[in-house]
Each structure stands twice: as structure tokens, then as C-alpha cells.
């Protein structure tokens, strides 16, 4: 591998979290962005073709070395590492709404989910997947929630824009109002 790729590997390896490109760039101020990108793809390819147990992933606005999924079961069975708990469907629903509508208040989330979400918000806050990002105007100035960097990391998203836009989803939301609703068959 080239010296730059080696340096990047060392730095990425030294971190448990994704490293943004900006920070990788400061490792070698002489290197251009193009050279940096080249070294990253060299590293990625090396992992892929030389039969490694790890791979290079781009997520949450940065780069991170992760193990390949085929070893996960074995590693967990040997009790050397454990996967984080899966989120419940209800937690995922709450998270999905917040990801798309942020900043959003609790009342709005409850309106969409049709259930109260107080406990769920607390869980998501504790897991660091959402955070208070502000307060709304109006009575009581309710708290507004948004997703965090850790959310991107745990769902391996490069950025929020990677989520499909509403009009790319299979279920199209019709314009509200009775006009858009089909008349009952008479």
C-alpha cells in the first residue's frame, strides 16, 4: 500500500468512530482531496481483494473500518463482542418520523403514530439517537427533537439526505382534503 493509505489505515484503526474527511485531510496537509480519495479507495480495495476480515465503510459523514458481517455470529458466540439490542418497531416508527420531520415536537409525533410516545422519546434520548434541538414557539414552548450523528452511524447512513425523499416512497401521500379522496363506490 502507498504511505498515505497506510497512514489512513492507522488513523482509521485508532478510532472507534467514523472520521470525517476533513480530519483525515489534516493527517497529511500536503495531500490533495483527490489523493486522499485515491488512498481511501486503495485501502478499501486492499481489504476487499486481499481477503481481510474487515472492510472500509463510508457513513455518518466519515470513514470507518468495520468487521465483515459473515463473522458476526461466530464472534458473538465466542462472547468476544455483542451486537447492540435491536430497536422495537415502535421505537423505529418514532425514529423514522423524527428523521423526516425534524425539528419536531412530541405532539406531532403522537399525531402521526396514533399513540403516546413519552417513554419512547426517553429511550431514544438515552440511546443517543435523538436530541433536543430547540423549542417551538407557542404555549409552553414545547421541546423539539432531531436525530443525532449516532443515528447516522447506527443506520450506516452517510447523511440524512440518503434517506429516500417522500416522493420516492412507494406510498404516495395524497394532498389532504376531500377532493383527493376517492368517492365511495355508490
Amino acid at each position: 500500500m502507498t504511505p498515505l493509505a497506510k497512514l489512513l489505515e492507522a488513523a482509521l484503526f485508532a478510532s472507534g468512530r467514523p472520521i470525517p474527511l476533513d480530519e483525515l485531510a489534516s493527517l497529511e496537509p500536503e495531500a490533495s482531496r483527490a489523493e486522499l480519495a485515491l488512498a481511501l479507495s486503495e485501502l478499501r480495495e486492499h481489504y476487499d481483494t486481499e481477503g481481510h476480515g474487515v472492510e472500509l465503510a463510508e457513513l455518518a459523514g466519515g470513514w470507518q473500518i468495520l468487521t465483515r458481517p459473515e463473522y458476526t455470529e461466530t464472534i458473538e458466540r465466542a462472547q468476544l463482542a455483542a451486537r447492540p439490542q435491536r430497536l422495537s418497531a415502535a421505537a423505529l416508527e418514532t425514529l423514522a418520523i423524527i428523521a423526516y420531520r425534524q425539528p419536531i415536537g412530541r405532539a406531532e409525533v403522537e399525531e402521526i403514530r396514533g399513540v403516546s410516545v413519552g417513554g419512547m422519546l426517553k429511550t431514544l434520548l438515552e440511546r443517543g439517537l435523538i436530541d433536543v434541538v430547540g423549542r417551538a414557539e407557542g404555549i409552553g414552548r414545547p421541546l423539539l427533537y432531531g436525530t443525532t450523528q449516532l443515528f447516522l452511524e447506527q443506520f450506516a447512513l452517510r447523511h440524512l439526505e440518503e434517506l429516500p425523499r417522500a416522493d420516492e416512497l412507494a406510498v404516495a401521500l395524497r394532498r389532504s382534503g376531500p377532493a383527493a379522496v376517492a368517492e365511495p363506490a355508490s
Binding site: F13, A14, S15, G16, R17, E55, A57, L59, Q64, I65, L66, T67, R68, P69, T72, I75, A81, R83, P84, Q85, R86, L87, S88, A89, A90, A91, L92, E93, L95, A96, I97, Y100, I112, R113, G114, V115, S116, G119, T123, R127, I139, G140, R141, Q154, F155, A156, L157, L163, P164, L169, A170, V171, L173, S176, G177, P178, V181, A182, E183, P184
Partner: protein, 256 residues
Amino acid sequence: MSRNVRGAERAITSAAPDFAADGSFTVELDHFSGPLDLLLSLIREEQVEISDIPIARIAEQFLLRISSLALDEAADYLEMAARLLRIKAQMLLPRSGDGEDWEDPRAELVRRLLEYQQMREVVDLLEHLGEARRNRFARGYLPQEPVPPMAPLALSLPELLAAVDRVLRVAREPTMHDVVPRALDVDGAMETIRAVIALRVRVRWGDIIRREAEPWEVLSALLALLELARRGELKLAQARPFTDVEITRDAAGEAA
């Protein structure tokens, strides 16, 4: 997106062994993450269009289901049941006019169901992405690295002042309390205390508040005492900490 929306099937199959991480009572115990989820699943079972729900039939099914699943203590489900029955009643009303300006009572429900269904599609995606990431480990052990030195901070006074301004703006907003179990009656307590000290020059706390008084009464009496002391109508004294408060009629105040 090529992924199919299979809201109902999903709800029944994959939501089953849920970890309700917060331990609170959640109805997902029974595979549904809420009334909208249950409703969508019924619509699918009955193979009807969301935009044209046979409301009477669906309402009946909904009620049947929440009783058989023993969900009936869940307020969210009951609220939806009530809503369905209300829509059903509205549908039975004779239409005024000839359909042109008739507003379908189901319209709002349809909108919510579509919105919910769309969100479930995102949930499918997140579940897929989350599972893919969950199956990869990041480096678990970071041994030799000392605590990385922190990057320097970029701070500016204008930024700090702007923050002060934001804080003041919020602080100026009146705090809203939605729960007022019992209003305080400070005026009433003041009248009581005045009556008591009119009879006796020196009284004790126990003379102005009954033993089994409720918190609001205690608080009212306390505020009344402080207010009367402030107005100079009485004096408060405590010989030692934790001893009884002595309340004496203030001669000067009386003269005023």
C-alpha cells in the same frame, strides 16, 4: 424504491419479539405498534382500499380485535374505536346536496392512514439499514491511545451574548403549568390568620392550620403569613431552628 410495502404482514411477523427498552406498558406486546397499525392490518385482511374503507365493517372488526387481544385498557386504541364509531355514524347521515360539496367523514382518517403507511415504509428501510450495520463491529478495544487531545474551541463574545439574549427571551415567556390540582387560597388564609391574632396576641403555627390540612392549605397559610409579615401586621420569630414559629401581632402594624 423497489421495496414493497407490506405494512400489515410486517406488523404481525417481524414486530413479534419486541424489546420494549423503556419497560413501559406498550401494546406492541400484541404485535401492533398502535391503533393505526391494527387498522392497516384489518384493511389488508379485508382486502379493501384505504381510500374507500367500508367503515361499518372495519369498525366492527376493530372492536372485535381489541377485545380479543385484551388491549381494551389501552387509551390509544379506545380513542381510535370511538373515532371509527363516530365516522360510522356520520356516514349514515343523509347527504345534503348531491355529492358535489359532500365531505367524506373518512377523509381525515384516510390521510392519517396514508401518512402512517408511508412512515412504515421508512421503518422497513431503517430496519434493513440498522440490521446491516448491527452485523458489523467497529473496533472494540482502543488500548494504547491516550485520551485524544481536544480540538481547540472557537468562541466569540457576540455568540455568547446572542446566547444570553436567547435565554432571556425564553425566561420572559410565562411558564405554563397545565396541572393545577387546587388553586391556592392565600386571601382566605390571611383572613383566618387575622381573625386568630385579633383574639390572641401570640399564636403558634398549629393554631392557624389544622393538623390534617392538605398541602394547598399549608402552602396558602405559609404564603399568607409571609405576606402579613411583609405588610407589618404580624411578626414571625423562631427561637431556634426546627422549633415552632411564633407569630405575634405587631403593635406598630396595628397602629398603622
